[in-house]
Symmetry: C2
Subunit: 192 residues, 2 copies
């Protein structure tokens, strides 16, 4: 996939992220996105055939960007170290890109996600990488005999909830909370 974007297209993406976080999908009209991006309404339709396509393309773009950040880990680390690293990278990414997190949350819980379900879900490199990371752990007896979905529920679910609590303003997690949580998960999934 091409990650090099024109200025205008990038501005449209950024504006959409910001406005969707604040007002939701249906609360942000195309006209508002255009204004915020310093672009004419029609220009958006030069890049995207519809609002739906804009949303879906933005989703795929963010997913790719996120994956690039999270999985850039050097070889040579132990399994446990990589386990901790991936979790912390993802947490860090969401902390630094709250609009992306909010966009993902809204996207997954909306009917938009249907549009990516069949074809595209198999193109989810992040899911693939997590799957391979899981299988490596199983093969090397690093983690105990559970399914991928138990593994991923513990791994991603806790993280998602923590970020959501932060964003919701309920709680500001500190370093100890984070290390407690990843310890909880690691102790739960590791072998013996």
């Amino acid at each position: 996939m091409n990650v090099q974007l024109s200025n205008k297209k990038e501005a449209i993406f950024e504006s959409t992220l910001k406005l969707v976080k604040e007002h939701g999908f249906h609360g942000t009209p195309m006209s508002q996105i255009a204004t915020h991006a310093n672009v004419a309404t029609g220009t958006i339709y030069h890049y995207f055939s519809s609002k739906d396509e804009l949303i879906v393309e933005l989703f795929k773009y963010c997913r790719l960007k996120m994956g690039e950040h999270v999985f850039k880990i050097d070889k040579g680390f132990s399994y446990k170290e990589r386990f901790f690293h991936i979790w912390n990278s993802l947490l860090e990414y969401y902390a630094d890109h709250q609009d992306v997190f909010s966009f993902f949350e809204q996207f997954y819980s909306s009917p938009y996600s249907e549009l990516v379900k069949n074809k595209e879900i198999t193109e989810d490199f992040n899911a693939d990488k997590m799957m391979r990371f899981f299988e490596e752990g199983i093969a090397n007896k690093e983690i105990r005999n559970i399914t991928f979905y138990s593994f991923i529920s513990a791994f991603i679910g806790t993280l998602t909830f923590l970020v959501r609590s932060n964003q919701y303003g309920l709680y500001q997690a500190d370093e100890k909370d984070r290390s407690d949580l990843i310890e909880i998960i690691w102790n739960g999934v590791k072998n013996q």
Copy 2:
């Protein structure tokens, strides 16, 4: 809060749940809710002053109903038993009420949740009960020294992710997955 609803009001609630699960908030017009509930459009406005109020009232109604189901646990069980029971009850409730789960997900990730944030969040009996359950565990040294939000992230986060995966059609969790997961969490949070 009054949980006794008129027939029409209940029908409106049920229709909203069903349609929102299928088409999302902005994808379900008031007229469609009315039709599905065998009611005139105007009737909805007899019960609710606006669509926003309908959504927020429905949220509070569902939250209450869910709490009634999840926390009906007899005294006399051990802490660990209650820990497992609450988790499984919640999972069961969401499995039996997928539209409620989907509604919650959409609600929390949308700007609607802002409408409940300040005043109403303190009226969340479920959060209160979980908090007290947590504090009991701390006081009796059943669980180790972590914050409530680490605790709840592990407890609810995993569950939410598992239900979401189910709903999304990625995976159908079986009994072993469920018991694996709750074991992972319990082992992670229990004392020593």
